[in-house]
Symmetry: C2
Subunit: 205 residues, 2 copies
């Protein structure tokens, strides 16, 4: 039996090696994109042989697919956590903080996502049109309500969300450029206070 039945409970070895493979694949895919990455690279990075990797996954695309699918969930969690639960402005600033923290702590995930979108999102186009759009529309409606209530300044909710994504992920995706320009300065600490200022000014009515 060449392939693992996902129905059965995975063994200890399976869990360990699948994790090793996915971690190695994240490293390689996030740097070179799907087409630029090779199984040999992933195998070396994972410390396993190439055939052994194909014992755990159906192929290169299956690894990439698994990685991206798992990523989509955790990537949208911060936005899901945006609810009507106190001060709207503080709520949105918290969302910015959470997203910036993700850029700082999971830059590879951010870059993998960026790579996929850059290439036209061949694998997650459906998720963008469906799941993502639905979630964003829902949160945009919430923001629109806050605006109507006069709790934050009147701005386009969709573009507000875009700007939060853009500004926070920039520090992960363009890390090399940011550090080249800043020299020895620490990007993320500065970005935190800068973005707080920016969004406070933007959201204050």
């Amino acid at each position: 039996m060449a392939m693992i039945e996902t129905l059965k409970k995975p063994s200890r070895i399976q869990r360990r090696n699948r994790k090793k493979i996915l971690d190695a694949a994240l490293e390689v895919f996030s740097q070179f994109g799907f087409r630029g990455a090779t199984l040999d690279q992933i195998a070396t990075e994972a410390g396993l042989s190439k055939p052994n990797i194909l014992y755990y996954f159906d192929g290169k695309e299956a690894i990439y697919h698994t990685l991206l699918q798992g990523l989509m969930e955790t990537w949208l969690d911060p936005l899901r956590a945006l609810v009507h639960d106190g001060d709207p402005k503080a709520e949105l600033l918290d969302y910015v903080d959470r997203k910036l923290a993700m850029s700082r702590d999971f830059p590879r995930e951010s870059r993998l996502f960026a790579n996929e979108i850059l290439q036209g999102a061949p694998l997650i186009k459906d998720a963008l049109d469906g799941e993502l759009k639905a979630l964003v529309d829902e949160k945009a409606a919430l923001i629109q309500q806050w605006i109507k209530e006069g709790q934050i300044a009147p701005i386009d909710p969709h573009h507000l969300i875009f700007s939060i994504w853009s500004l926070t992920q920039h520090y992960a995706d363009f890390d090399v450029q940011v550090r080249a320009v800043l020299g020895a300065r620490e990007p993320f600490a500065e970005a935190g206070s800068y973005l707080k200022t920016l969004f406070t000014k933007l959201l204050t009515p």
Copy 2:
């Protein structure tokens, strides 16, 4: 003689075919990155045979290098145009406009650049550390002066520049995602007025 002497003036055919190749390469490299792109793809896109492409360029890397070198110049032009020449706030808003227009009119160039940075900028690291940093530092000093004169609000100049890059290029690099979320709405027109609002609020003391 296999290679073209750049010292001699290029013939009509040379100009036409080199342009065809660079245009095709821009299309392919911007979508798949350096490693993910193939010469066959570029050849097909250009409507030329693979050996013919290698008649005009020294190899895959030479095409990529030529493309990136030419891009760096035009990509920084809008920032170079940022000078002390009237109202600082209007000056900066104009810069935002110019950058957004570039994202709208040259999305492939933006994505090529993004791809290179994502992969750690292996080819233009030197340019980032040198030319780019110098230019940004110069303009940051200019912005700092405006702040000191009280003409714009006190914010970190470097991160201000980052946020302009980030917010404008996002609409080119993440075009698929933006359009998926917005549905039938036209991104760039909306982005124009949104960003004008954002930066006006940010820069007003």
